[in-house]
């Protein structure tokens, strides 16, 4: 069953335009970017946030809907991907899980299905890494995924996570330590 888009748009006010990281030289640089290229990173960050709290792709969908709604709030030339991460995080921590029950589409919906099935090897390795990431605290995992996997700078990650750069560095360091222990118990 699908519901109207207006029904799944967030009720709680957020301000996706508040975060405008690292201005670039060309104020229209984002126009040259293909938003599609950010989808894998958005899905990865959504997975790190959701764990077992809902479908990460639904969180990505919510994020894109919010971004479309607030497109005027984006400052051209700034880090588009970080802007999308900020919207996603805000959405996640502002009641997205409540809306999970009302999400559009379903697991059986044809448009929700990938256009190719992942291989068995991918599936196993993916599950192994997800299980390891699940084993570390949320705030460590978020910092690790943003910096070590998705390649955000410490400064950008600090703005996305709304904390100090030093805190991000500390969290990444601790996350690496925890992950190392999980992946290599003999260590």
């Amino acid at each position: 069953m699908s519901v109207a888009l207006s029904a799944v748009l967030p009720v709680a006010p957020i301000n996706p335009g508040h975060f405008q990281p690292e201005a670039c030289v060309d104020p229209r640089q984002h126009m040259g970017e293909d938003v599609l290229q950010h989808l894998p990173a958005l899905r990865a960050y959504a997975r790190s946030l959701c764990r077992r709290a809902g479908d990460p792709d639904d969180l990505v969908q919510e994020t894109l809907l919010r971004a479309i709604e607030h497109a005027h709030g984006y400052r051209p030339g700034t880090n588009l991907r970080a802007w999308l991460f900020t919207i996603m995080r805000s959405r996640f921590y502002n009641g997205w899980r409540r809306l999970d029950r009302e999400r559009t589409g379903s697991a059986e919906c044809a448009s929700a299905l990938p256009h190719s099935q992942p291989g068995q090897e991918w599936h196993l390795r993916h599950k192994e890494m997800l299980a390891a990431l699940d084993g570390i605290p949320d705030h460590y995992r978020e910092a690790l995924v943003l910096v070590a996997i998705l390649g955000e700078t410490y400064l950008s990650a600090a703005e996305i996570l709304n904390c100090d750069v030093g805190t991000v560095k500390s969290r990444v360091c601790r996350a690496r330590g925890r992950l190392r222990t999980i992946l290599d118990p003999e260590f």
């Binding site: 126009m31 938003v35 599609l36 894998p40 990865a44 971004a67 993916h126 260590f187």
Partner: protein
């Protein structure tokens, strides 16, 4: 003795390999059609809000 710096460095290297591999696999994973359509819609919305791309 629990660990030494060389052991830690080696273990870090292994973990970095795990993370990098996971990242590459994530990038290769197929994206659902609904998300690709929304990404295209976002691009159009950004263009509508901020003007056309520079040549």
């Amino acid at each position: 003795m629990k660990s030494t710096r060389p052991q830690e460095a080696e273990s870090d290297q292994i973990m970095n390999g795990h993370l990098e591999q996971w990242k590459r696999l994530m990038e290769r994973e197929a994206v659902p059609k609904r998300l690709r359509e929304l990404a295209s819609a976002l691009r159009e919305a950004l263009t509508a809000a901020h003007g056309p791309p520079r040549p």
